[in-house]
C-alpha cells in the first residue's frame, strides 16, 4: 500500500479538482460542511498537529459575520443594529460562504504540500513539454539567483559600496545588486541556450522523462474518483442540491440528494481514510515484530 501522495500526480490532481470544484461552486450547507470537515481532517492527519489553525479560525468568523451586517434580506429577524435588521438567513449564508472559502484554503494547503514542484511540473508537462522545460529551468534559477544575489551583495559590501543606515541609499544599493544580477543572469542564460542548441535541443521530437508511472492502483483511484464525482454531478444536474437562502431558507430534498451527499462524503474523506488505515496497518506490522 502506498501513501496518497505517491499516486500518479495526474490522478491526485484530478482528485483535487473533483473535490475542490464542487466545494467552490455548489453552495449547499451540507456539502460545504462536508468539505470543511474533509479538508481540516486531511490537514490534521497530515501534519499531526493543531498549530497554525488559529488564524483561519478567526478568519472564518470574520468572513461569516461580515455578511449579516451588510445584507438585510431574509424573513427571520433576530435583532436590530442601528435600525438595520440582522436576519438569521443572512447570518447562515455568511457562515456557509465563509466555510466554503476556508475549506478551499485548507484543500489548497494540503495540495501545496502533496504536489511538490516536480509533481506539478509533471502535470504541466502533460499539457506542454516546452512550457514544462521553461518552468523547470525557472525553478532551478530561483535558488541560483538567490545565491548569486548573496555573492554580489557580499562583494559590494567588501568594496565598501554599502550604507545600510540610510533607507534610500539601502534601496539604491539593492537595485544596484539586482542590476548586476540581471546582466549576469542574461549572459548566463544565453550561454545555456547556446549549449543546448549545440547539443541538438529542438532538432528532433521532444521526449519527456518522468519517474511517474500509471499503475493499477492509479486506475482504481481514478475510477473511484470519477464514479463518485459522476454521482455528485448527477445530483446537481437533477436539481437535488438546490438551496436558496433568501428570502427564506428552502432546499430540495430527494433520495438523489442523499446519494450525492454520500458520494461527496466518500470523496472528501478518501485520503484521510487512506492515511488512517495505512497507519493502522503499519502499527499492526510493528507490533508483530
Amino acid at each position: 500500500m502506498k501513501s496518497f501522495s505517491e499516486y500518479n500526480p495526474i490522478t491526485v490532481a484530478l482528485w483535487y479538482a473533483a473535490v475542490i470544484l464542487p466545494a467552490m461552486f455548489i453552495l449547499h450547507p451540507a456539502l460545504t460542511a462536508l468539505s470543511i470537515v474533509g479538508s481540516v481532517l486531511l490537514h490534521t492527519v497530515r501534519t499531526k498537529s493543531l498549530r497554525g489553525n488559529l488564524i483561519y479560525f478567526i478568519l472564518f468568523f470574520a468572513i461569516a459575520l461580515l455578511n449579516p451586517f451588510f445584507y438585510h434580506n431574509g424573513v427571520t429577524i433576530l435583532f436590530f443594529v442601528n435600525d438595520n435588521p440582522i436576519t438569521l438567513e443572512a447570518l447562515l449564508y455568511g457562515f456557509t460562504a465563509s466555510a466554503m472559502i476556508i475549506s478551499v484554503i485548507y484543500w489548497f494547503r494540503s495540495f501545496s504540500a502533496m504536489m511538490t514542484s516536480d509533481r506539478l511540473l509533471y502535470v504541466f508537462g502533460s499539457a506542454s513539454p516546452k512550457l514544462a522545460l521553461i518552468l523547470s529551468m525557472a525553478l532551478r534559477y530561483v535558488p541560483l539567483f538567490s545565491l548569486q544575489i548573496k555573492k554580489v551583495n557580499d562583494s559590494q559590501k567588501a568594496l565598501g559600496l554599502y550604507r545600510e543606515d540610510n533607507a534610500i541609499d539601502a534601496l539604491r544599493g539593492r537595485v544596484r545588486v539586482f542590476s548586476i544580477l540581471v546582466t549576469w543572469a542574461l549572459e548566463n542564460g544565453v550561454t545555456t541556450a547556446d549549449s543546448m542548441t549545440a547539443r541538438g535541443y529542438g532538432v528532433g521530437r521532444r521526449t519527456y522523462f518522468s519517474i511517474y508511472r500509471f499503475t493499477r492502483s492509479d486506475r482504481i483511484l481514478l475510477a473511484v474518483t470519477l464514479i463518485l464525482e459522476g454521482l455528485l454531478l448527477a445530483g446537481a444536474a437533477l436539481d437535488a442540491l438546490k438551496f436558496s437562502f433568501y428570502p427564506a431558507m428552502t432546499g430540495t430534498w430527494s433520495p438523489m440528494t442523499a446519494v450525492s451527499l454520500a458520494a461527496y462524503t466518500a470523496l472528501a474523506l478518501l485520503p484521510t481514510i487512506h492515511r488512517v488505515t495505512e497507519e493502522f496497518a503499519w502499527k499492526r506490522l510493528l507490533s508483530r515484530v
Binding site: Y93, F108, S126, I134, M137, Y141, I149, R174, S179
Partner: protein
C-alpha cells in the same frame, strides 16, 4: 502518459477552445444554469484561455535563446517577490513584454504566478493571477513602441495595469463570496479594497521607475549582441 503526442490533435485543440468551448461555457452559464454563476463562468473562461495560449505556444517554433530569456525573467520576478511587501512581478512582465514582445511578456507574467505560488501557496486565485499578469505583459508587448520611447507612458501603463490586476482579483473574490445573492455590495467591495489597490499601483509604478532602465538597457543589449 497523458501527453497529447499527436500534433494534429493539438492543432484541433487550438481551434476547439476559442471557437467552441469558450462561447459554449458562457452560453451554458447563461441559459442552462439560469442563475448568476459568474464566478464559475469567469474561472472556466480564464482556464480555457490559458490553455489556448499554451497550445498555441507549444506548436510554435521559438528560438532556444528566447525561451531561456523567458525562464530567466520569470525567475527574476519570483526572486523579487521575496523582498517583503513589494511584488515586482507585474513590473517585470511589463518590461519583458515591452522589450521582448507580447508572447514573452505573457509567459513571464503567467509562469511567475505559478512558480511564486509554489512558495507562497496555490489557490483558486492562481489562474486569475496567471491571466492578469500575463495580460499586463501581453499588452505591454502590443504597445511596445510608445512604451519604450517614453518613460512617462510606461509609468502610466504601470498604473493602469496595477489597477487592472487588483480589480481582476477583487472582482472575482466578490463574485465568489456573493454567489447566489444580490450583487449590490459590489461597488462597496471595490471601495473597501481601495487602499490595497492604491498601494499596489504605487509600488508597481515605483518598480517600473527603478527597474525599467537597467532591465530595458540590458534586454536591448542582449537582443542586439546575440540577435534574438
Amino acid at each position: 502518459m497523458l501527453i497529447i503526442k499527436n500534433a494534429k490533435l493539438r492543432a484541433v485543440l487550438g481551434w476547439v477552445i476559442p471557437f467552441i468551448l469558450i462561447p459554449g461555457v458562457i452560453a451554458a452559464g447563461i441559459f442552462i444554469f439560469k442563475e448568476k454563476r459568474y464566478a464559475f463562468i469567469t474561472l472556466a473562461v480564464t482556464v480555457l484561455s490559458l490553455l489556448l495560449f499554451i497550445s498555441g505556444y507549444e506548436r510554435k517554433k521559438t528560438g532556444n535563446r528566447r525561451m531561456i530569456i523567458v525562464a530567466v525573467m520569470t525567475a527574476m520576478a519570483v526572486v523579487g517577490r521575496f523582498i517583503p511587501v513589494f511584488k515586482p512581478i507585474a513590473a517585470i512582465a511589463l518590461i519583458t513584454g515591452a522589450y521582448m514582445g507580447s508572447e514573452c511578456g505573457f509567459l513571464v507574467g503567467a509562469l511567475s504566478a505559478v512558480i511564486s505560488n509554489m512558495y507562497f501557496g496555490q489557490g483558486p486565485w492562481t489562474p486569475f493571477q496567471m491571466f492578469a499578469w500575463g495580460m499586463v505583459g501581453f499588452f505591454a508587448g502590443l504597445l511596445s513602441k510608445p512604451l519604450c520611447r517614453s518613460r512617462i507612458l510606461m509609468l502610466l501603463y504601470a498604473a493602469v495595469s496595477g489597477i487592472f490586476y487588483s480589480l481582476t482579483l477583487d472582482i472575482w473574490a466578490v463574485l465568489w463570496y456573493h454567489e447566489g445573492s444580490a450583487l449590490k455590495s459590489y461597488g462597496a467591495a471595490i471601495i473597501a479594497a481601495l487602499p490595497h489597490t492604491l498601494a499596489y499601483t504605487l509600488s508597481n509604478m515605483l518598480f517600473v521607475l527603478l527597474l525599467a532602465r537597467p532591465f530595458g538597457e540590458k534586454l536591448q543589449r542582449v537582443k542586439i549582441k546575440y540577435g534574438i
